[in-house]
Symmetry: C2
Subunit: 198 residues, 2 copies
C-alpha cells in the first residue's frame, strides 16, 4: 500500500500567513480574514470560521442497531437524521465530551468506547474537526438536553442507515463519514480498539 | 425496509423564523443571525453562513483508480487529500458545474456522468449542499486553475483511499462521503444511472 504523495514529491502547496483580522465575533460564529502569501509569491485573502471542535458518537445497541437523532437544522430549514454529536467545551477531554454528549442528547451511557479518528467537515472555511467515537454496552437513562435543543432519538439498523444514505434521505456529512466507518467495522475490514469505560 | 420516522410520528421539531439580520458580508463569508421561535414557544438565535452550493466529482480512470487532489487548506493549516470540487456559479446547472470544475482543476473531460445525490457538510452553521457526481470515460487535457488556486492531481485506488481514511490520512468530510458511495457502487450494492455527456 502506497502512502499518499506528500510535499517531498509534490510542489510546495503551503500558504504563509501574513496577517489576520477578526471579521465577526457572534454568539456562535467567530470569523477571520487572513492575508496569505501564495506559492507563487502573490497574495490572497482567506476567510474562515474558528470552531472549538466537536465529537460524534456511533453508539451500537445490543441488538446491533445504532442510536440516531432527528433534529431541525435551521440553516437547511429541515429535519436531518444524524448521529449524536456536540461541540467540545473549552479544555474538555475528547472522550469526556463524547460521554457527556451521548448522555445529554440520548440518555445512554456506554460500557465501552473506541476512538475511530478525526474528520474535517468543511475544509474550505472552518477550522472544525469532528472526532468520531464508537460506543457499545449501552444502558438507557434520562437525557438532559441543552436549553433550546429539541431532538428525537430513535434506533436504526446499518442497512436502514445505508439505504437512507443511498436514497438521499440521510445527507449529513459527519453521519455519512461515520457510516463509512460503521460499514467497514461491521465487515471486519477496519478494526477498532475498545476500552472499558472508567 | 422502514422509512425514517418523520414528523407525523415525532414531536414537531420545526423552528419558525421571526427575523433575520446580516452579520457579515465578506469577500467569501456571508453570515446571518436569525431569531427563531422554538417548539416550546421560547426564542433563540441561530447564526449561519449562506453558501451557493457546490459539487464534488468522483472521477474514475480506465484502470479503476480515482482522480484525487492534494490542496493546502488554510483554516486547517495543512494539505488535505480530496476529490475535485468547487462552488456553483450563480444560476449554474449542477452538471455543468461538475464538468467545469473537473476540467479546470484536473484537466479531465468525462464521457459519462452520474448524479449520486446531495450531502450537507456542516448542518449546524451553513446552508451549503454538495452534490456528488461520478464521472468515467476520462480523457486527459489541460487544466485551468482559478487565480490563487494551487493543487496537485494524482490517482489512487479505492483500496488506497479507504486505507488512508481508516488511518486518519484522509479526513475531508465530502471525500469520506464520496467514498461511502464509491465503496457501495464498486460492491454493486448501490446503483448509479449513467448518462452520456452531451
Amino acid at each position: 500500500m502506497a502512502s499518499p504523495p506528500d510535499g517531498a514529491q509534490a510542489q510546495d502547496l503551503r500558504e504563509h500567513t501574513l496577517s489576520s483580522e477578526e471579521l465577526l465575533r457572534g454568539h456562535f460564529l467567530h470569523a477571520f480574514r487572513d492575508q496569505v502569501r501564495l506559492p507563487d509569491g502573490r497574495q490572497a485573502s482567506r476567510e474562515y470560521v474558528r470552531h472549538p471542535g466537536a465529537v460524534v458518537i456511533v453508539a451500537e445497541l445490543d441488538d446491533g442497531r445504532y442510536v440516531v437523532e432527528r433534529q431541525w437544522r435551521h440553516p437547511l430549514q429541515r429535519v436531518l437524521i444524524e448521529f449524536p454529536a456536540g461541540k467540545l467545551d473549552a479544555g474538555e477531554d475528547l472522550l469526556a465530551c463524547a460521554r457527556r454528549e451521548l448522555q445529554e442528547e440520548t440518555g445512554y451511557r456506554a460500557n465501552q468506547w473506541a476512538y475511530a479518528g478525526p474528520m474535517h467537515p468543511v475544509i474550505a472555511y472552518s477550522t472544525e474537526v469532528i472526532h468520531i467515537f464508537f460506543a457499545r454496552g449501552l444502558q438507557a437513562g434520562e437525557r438532559a438536553l441543552d436549553e433550546g435543543e429539541f431532538l428525537d432519538v430513535f434506533a436504526a439498523s446499518l442497512d436502514e442507515l445505508l439505504a437512507w444514505s443511498r436514497d438521499g434521505l440521510l445527507t449529513d456529512g459527519k453521519t455519512l463519514s461515520c457510516l463509512l466507518w460503521a460499514q467497514n467495522v461491521r465487515a471486519g475490514t477496519w478494526a477498532l480498539r475498545w476500552s472499558d469505560a472508567g
